[in-house]
Amino acid sequence: MSGATHGILAAFEYPDSTVDAIESLRKAGFEEIRVSSPYVAHQIEAAMGWDGSPVRVCTLVGGLTGAAAGFALTARTSLWSARVGGRPELGVPASIVIAFELSVLFAALAAVIALLIAARLPRTRPNVVYDPSFSSDRFGVFVRVPPGRSDEACRILRERGPAELRESAEADHA
């Protein structure tokens, strides 16, 4: 349960060699790969097979909740109020503004909370193998290797011309 799993960390300078490395590793059966990049690189996301996100549904739910809350607020506070100038107590045009604002507010909050949960932020325990150059100009590929396959992983990575290659250990996720 506790302890460290071993893996290989390779730092690449070019996004295309990073993508090649990821694809070769996945083809060879290494599934536990993590890539760190200094900017959002769509080729890398595609190579890693990411698709869909819970953030979208959460945002929608947040927005609908906000709209409902807005209409509920205007309804509850207007139904027993005085009729001023012949205008109806519960007017849709007036309620729309508040309902819209609250729907945007709740949707935005939901999006941020969903992001923090999905991306597992904030990270309090430094259990991700990381090098400061990954936020500057290098792409980091960390692949977790089962015992006995580390030579094979090293060979695959070395073929793609990394700037740096080393063995690293990382603490298990909670």
Binding site: P38, S53, R56, E101, L105, V128, D137
Partner: protein, 435 residues
């Protein structure tokens, strides 16, 4: 690239130290004038008669416009995938946050009795009286609170990767700060993937909000029957005005910034050219709105409306109206000429003129309509008092104070975003170059 940007966050240069004390002194003037108004009451302002909204309200609308424009530049251009947005959007977002703070304060300032401001919130009180949610003044409360939260979230979220870069690139006490607020960002594929989705959604949410907020503020005026205010064009007029003043303010801030910090490589002449063109476009829309308002006043044949516009042009405030027209409608026509757009001092001068003109526009709309209303015996000449002028001048310094502080601490150019649009160095290109 990281070194270039992060170097700025080190000890500030002489220029910063020369300007910052003035900004700080102005901020003190702002708070002092407001304190004087709080203690003595709104009587120390020039407000009176039908003119219940004056300089402070004009400033409020002005700063709200600038704030919403920052998100328009950031979010809308993101959705359109405009490449030149990446270098300028961080400065625009910092401007938004500082402008929101200033606008929020003006909301309280123009109220007078700020200790009663909580009456605006819908809470179940013992008096069993809810605020009137059908009033635009309450819509303002919801719109501005929402906008404040969403724009801060959008700003902070987009900055997390850059804060991580700052954490990795700096040392010392500052590093601790960046380490905490970057939330342990490691740039992993999982993080970037969800981040991309969330950022896109936030941009999509912030865009209608940036259109909605100046509209809701304009409805404070448009839903009344005051001549000169009661017009449906006010909402698009204020939205276009917001975009216009915001783009001009971005230019005003970014031009000295790039000079002071040597950012010419990232904020190139092309970026300034694009901003200038956007400024010109918004200026044309605002000019059209002026023309339509005047036309409708004549076309509608309402005597009071016509009289209000006549007084706006040729009455007691003719100087404000014509300065406004010169600064907002005439001056930016210079931007048609590429020579002007390429000349940095000329561009800066035009942007400052537009800023002044846009503030005057809100002043003209608010004060001239109020001072020359339906009842001739109520016509009242409004002159801002020293306290109000102190608040006005101080507020500009207050804004500058916070802008200078925030750009000291936070990366002023969006590092990861710019990297995204730079053509990546590919390994196969390098191998072709090697013999």
């Amino acid at each position: 690239m990281n070194e270039d940007i992060l170097r700025i966050l080190d000890t500030p240069g002489k220029g910063w130290w020369r300007l910052f004390p003035f900004a700080a002194a102005g901020a003190v003037l702002f708070l002092g004038s407001w304190a004087h108004q709080l203690v003595e009451g709104l009587g120390v302002s020039g407000l009176g008669g039908p003119v219940t909204w004056g300089v402070s309200m004009a400033s409020f609308v002005f700063w709200v416009g600038i704030a919403s424009s920052g998100v328009l530049i950031s979010a809308v251009l993101f959705l359109f995938r405009t490449p030149w947005r990446q270098a300028v959007h961080r400065a625009a977002e910092v401007m938004t946050v500082c402008a929101m703070m200033t606008a929020g304060l003006f909301l309280l300032i123009h109220l007078g009795r700020v200790w009663r401001a909580y009456w605006l919130l819908p809470y179940p009180g013992s008096h069993l009286l809810w605020p009137n949610l059908r009033s635009p003044l309450l819509w303002d409360v919801f719109a501005l609170s929402t906008y404040f939260v969403v724009s801060v979230l959008f700003f902070f979220l987009g900055m997390i990767p850059d804060l991580a870069a700052a954490r990795d690139g700096t040392t010392g006490r500052r590093r601790e700060l960046y380490r905490v607020i970057s939330l342990g960002w490691r740039g992993t594929d999982r993080q970037w993937h969800h981040f991309g989705k969330a950022y896109l959604l936030l941009a999509g949410l912030a865009t209608p909000l940036a259109v909605c907020v100046p509209s809701v503020v304009s409805w404070d005026f448009a839903t009344t029957i005051v001549p000169g205010w009661h017009s449906t064009i006010l909402a698009p007029y204020f939205v276009a005005g917001a975009l216009y003043s915001g783009v001009a303010m971005v230019l005003t801030l970014v031009i000295p910034m790039r000079k002071a910090w040597g950012l010419e490589k990232y904020l190139t002449g092309k970026h300034l050219d694009a901003l200038a063109k956007l400024c010109l476009l918004a200026g044309l829309v605002v000019t059209y709105a002026y023309a339509v308002q005047v036309f409708l006043a004549w076309y509608g044949a309402d005597a009071v409306e016509r009289a209000s516009f006549w007084s706006r042009m040729f009455g007691s405030y003719w100087w404000a109206s014509w300065t406004m027209i010169t600064c907002t409608a005439l001056a930016p026509q210079l931007l048609w000429f590429e020579r002007v757009r390429r000349s940095i001092p000329a561009l800066w001068a035009v942007s400052i003129l537009v800023d002044i003109g846009m503030w005057l526009e809100y002043y003209v709309v608010i004060v001239t309509s109020l001072h020359h209303g339906y009842e001739p015996f109520m016509w009242h000449l409004y002159r801002p008092s020293f306290t109000e002028v102190g608040i006005l001048v101080g507020s500009v310094c207050w804004f500058l104070f916070w802008f200078m502080l925030l750009t000291r601490l936070l990366p002023p150019v969006a590092i990861s975003a710019v990297k995204e649009v730079l053509p990546p160095r590919m390994r196969h290109e390098r191998e072709e170059v090697r013999p």
